[in-house]
Symmetry: C2
């Protein structure tokens, strides 16, 4: 199978590594608009060739869109248009984006909709670019299939096989539900990390102090603040309504803490912490 | 040297392990008020004996107070009183608490103040109890010495040696400054984690969804929400004013994000994320 990967960054590059060495892909064709990233991806052997978008779609059996969701939403209809052309009708295209409602909506009435499988492999790190790609990134994690009933069964089966090779657990979900849930368990924690980094950088002018005093706890809480704006600006705007609802609940909780601390209300603080501790049972 | 450790939890227990196996302590005497923890600490060989507070002080050369700061503030004067008694004048006592202003204030005029060295080894995990103790916990981390000029030089030197055995980097700081800086780089990230856990638990009623969808990012951001209220209630109330100031700055930053997302202001979101990304240069 020839696999085309558009965007050889953390997700696309890591897929390339495991799909190739685990035998799912015989050949990887990469599309990469940044010349430096393209050169690096070749040198790191993430792709066998760097090609144009049209070449990639025409020569691949399966195309992975692994670019920020704003650009993916624009590119997907173009790719389905190429798949409409004679002789291309068995090709499959998938995306890996972190928000799903808009991308399934934009091709809902496309005649080749069945050839598209909307997925969200829930794995990653705070780093980006081909140099962030790594083997085994997806092993054991969950992969969401959004609105999978809108995909052709053969296309869906091929993509299920792909994620099986990546050792991911498939979860099937409506795209709108996906966006609600990810607002809670992923998007909000990026916003809180960004805000934490801004707070510390604003107040703690002496970087040496931050370095000296940062415990492991601070480092892990602020880790996501290293995430790139290329990826996160479109996620936060595309999932605006859900993210705002979560931020508002979050601000309520922060204010409850603030008031309890301000009033030296030890009993109330203890109760809030005990409630928060319930997360122990869920997240190991 | 006989080392007494009051509180054989994460910090006290981990110190016991490394001080013993690295040859600083010939014997460890433990004080542990919870019977289950005392039995576990003995079984795990964190201490050679469990003794009473008075026995511990009288038989040890150096006493480590490793209990929540609220209790430590009450216990320290009692220990210095015992050290005042005839024949005890060369004994040393240290604390390991996360806030320093109040504990140095409470013994400022004590006649045996010089025998006390106020320290804050900046290491830990989100777990507590003797079962959380582990070797090498302190290696390579920073240890704050607060108001070290108020300690006798010989006592200070002995404690510097102790932290050198634990492979910690000493940093000398005024207690009030310590409490300002730790509010920024430690206390706030606990509050934001607690609030994040409360938000998700509040909104995401289906725990299976949280488990399925939680990416590594969410897990690391919410990790500190597992921390115990025994430890954090007194920290947050003792350091109330500093913590409130940081929370208020943090709420401003969260609201900036909220407004930018609400207004679909991509340029503003991008600018905020780019600013937050500066943390990359400081925290690896």
């Amino acid at each position: 199978m020839i696999v085309g990967i558009i965007g050889l960054g953390l997700i696309g590059g890591s897929m390339a590594i495991d799909l190739k060495r685990r035998g799912y892909a015989d050949k990887i064709l990469g599309v990469e608009s940044e010349p430096v990233n393209a050169a690096a991806a070749l040198k790191m052997e993430l792709a066998d060739e760097i090609v144009s978008l049209r070449d990639c779609v025409e020569r691949s059996d399966l195309v992975v869109i692994a670019i920020p969701v704003g650009s993916a939403v624009k590119m997907l209809p173009e790719i389905l248009d190429i798949i409409s052309e004679e002789g291309n009708g068995r090709k499959i295209v998938i995306d890996t984006c972190s928000t799903k409602s808009q991308i399934v909506r934009v091709v809902h009435y496309h005649p080749m909709r069945g050839r598209f499988v909307a997925t969200h492999p829930m794995a990653g790190t705070e780093y980006s670019g081909p140099w962030a790609a790594m083997p085994n990134l997806f092993d054991g994690r969950a992969c969401i299939f959004a609105n999978s009933e809108e995909s052709d069964p053969q296309a869906l089966k091929t993509v299920e096989d792909l994620y099986n090779v990546l050792n991911m657990r498939p979860i099937y979900m409506n795209a709108d539900n996906h966006d609600v849930h990810t607002a809670y368990v992923s998007h909000i924690s990026h916003v809180t990390s960004f805000a934490l980094a801004l707070t510390v950088l604003d107040k703690e002018q002496d970087e040496k102090h931050i370095f000296d005093l940062a415990s492991g706890g601070f480092s892990s809480t602020v880790r996501l603040a290293k995430s790139s704006s290329d990826m996160w600006v479109p996620i936060l705007t595309q999932n605006r309504d859900n993210v705002l609802r979560v931020i508002d609940t979050y601000l309520e909780k922060m204010n409850e803490f603030r008031d309890a601390i301000a009033g030296y209300d030890e009993e109330r603080i203890e109760k809030l912490i005990a409630e928060a501790n319930r997360i122990k049972k869920i997240i190991r």
